[in-house]
Symmetry: C2
Subunit: 296 residues, 2 copies
């Protein structure tokens, strides 16, 4: 009994440590095999309120251990050059603003895409246009994978549909399914076979310098999303349609299928083509100016 | 001594609990008064690899406790309407693609903005155009605050400069400062006083239904960034310039200054105007098509 009394605090301590360890373990990320090596565990990160709360980009600004900074002197002293872009008279500006609004306001997300071929040169120019977007510290952290190969398109469809069905059924919760129900979408994505092009947009979470070292890409997700906005404008400008999709949980599989490197993560998948002759869209309205703008 | 032996395990347990509590507390977010009520602590969230690893949006797809789902029947059975947008002959498509690329490729981030007035009607149309962007489940989760009032612009400048200086000096690490050094920027933001308009773009992390209940805004950050891409295209189209900025850590202060509700978080700040007569830009090059596109 006396021995037990002496040992009890030790036992209690050991129990506490085991419980604490198990608790911590339960909070660690469940890294599935498919994404292993691609993500850093949250436990490695320090808390950065300015990045975590405000920007929610996954490119946290941190003195990372594994992103070695490399001097890049040739870019250090960039010359500054005069910049005097086209300037329009006020009436012309207003007319151009109205015309562009008119063009963009006719854009809709279209799930019914025609199989008719689209000139590849047009797609090339659209991608080049997307590449004019600004990016954090001019890192240009985007890769546009343009798929027209029938077999690859079908493999993409199988991956997306399998994951989407799981997402819908198990992961997303009633609310999200309910929200999408009114848009009459589901996990059958025929357009992935039918559309002449699938554009898969990858964000480069870091870059690789010529010497193989890593270079952080600040704000890569925001930058690539901005680029996607310019891409959508460019598609609308040439009379092509798409539907903006962010396939949940398919990134790792699609990255492997398309042989993209580990620093790239899928952000969006856009099927692109002419609208089908019988294409329909839900009769949605957009908010008016007063609902989206506040003037001070 | 016998009493002590009996009490020791109790003491050890209490000590463990206190230590555990302190440990957990240290992991909880440091919610500053300015952001109180605006952020959910990470401890409330469950781990969702599909959202956390792939999308990194802060709108996790979750069966949230505090986002009560509300039936919204009037939107449930939206009619589908035929959609047949403008279709161009192939030569016209290609010419339009080239012209739009030519226009967009001349866009640059400009930090030297002229104080000359810009017609407000043009700005209105540009904002309307940005509002044509797609958004997750058509939530349109954006608020564009357009500031032309001199006093408010100056207050914004003071907030941004104060935070930027702290960011540069203390938080960002040598690497980020080094990256930006070559763009010759620093924490003096004269353009915030000078530009005729400051457009502050807020993402709505959730919406408020007419009955006061919350409605989750899926992918709000990606959606608002896409909208920003269309806004940049629209500004370029009318001959106005801006510089895309994401002021770190200023969100809460600017939100309070501009009296935005708690569901809105600052994503971007764009000073807008004509370029100054002596505006210069760094002599940056953009990647070519082969560097950003992969065709399969």
């Amino acid at each position: 009994m006396a021995l037990l009394s002496v040992l009890t605090p030790v036992l209690a301590l050991v129990l506490c440590m085991v419980a604490g360890f198990l608790f911590l373990k339960s909070r660690a990320p469940e890294t599935s095999p498919g994404v292993a090596g691609q993500t850093k565990g949250p436990t490695k990160k320090e808390f950065r309120p300015w990045a975590d709360q405000d920007l929610q980009d996954d490119t946290e600004i941190t003195r990372g251990d594994d992103d070695e900074w490399v001097e890049n002197n040739e870019e250090e002293d960039l010359a500054h050059v005069p910049y005097s872009p086209q300037r329009y008279p006020e009436e012309t500006m207003l007319q151009r603003a109205k015309d562009f609004y008119s063009l963009m306001s006719q854009r809709r997300s279209v799930r019914f895409i025609s199989p008719e071929p689209v000139p590849r040169e047009v797609i090339d120019k659209v991608i080049l246009t997307a590449g004019t977007a600004p990016s954090g510290a001019h890192t240009e952290p985007w890769t546009f994978v343009v798929v027209s190969d029938l077999d690859t398109k079908h493999k993409i469809r199988l991956i997306v549909e399998e994951e989407e069905e799981v997402n819908y059924r198990q992961r997303m919760g009633d609310k999200w399914v309910h929200d999408l129900a009114r848009l009459r979408t589901n996990w059958i994505k025929e357009y992935l076979d039918v559309a002449p092009y699938l554009i898969l947009i990858f964000k480069q979470t870091y870059g690789i310098l010529p010497n193989g070292k890593k270079k952080t890409h600040y704000y890569n997700e925001i930058s690539v999303s901005i680029s996607c906005g310019i891409l959508l404008a460019s598609l609308q400008n040439v009379g092509l349609v798409t539907v903006t999709s962010t396939p949940l949980n398919c990134g790792p599989q699609l990255r492997l299928l398309l042989k993209r490197p580990a620093n790239e993560k899928l952000l969006m998948l856009l099927p692109v083509g002419y609208p089908a002759a019988d294409a329909t869209v839900p009769d949605l309205k957009r908010k008016n100016l007063e609902e989206i703008m506040v003037a001070i």
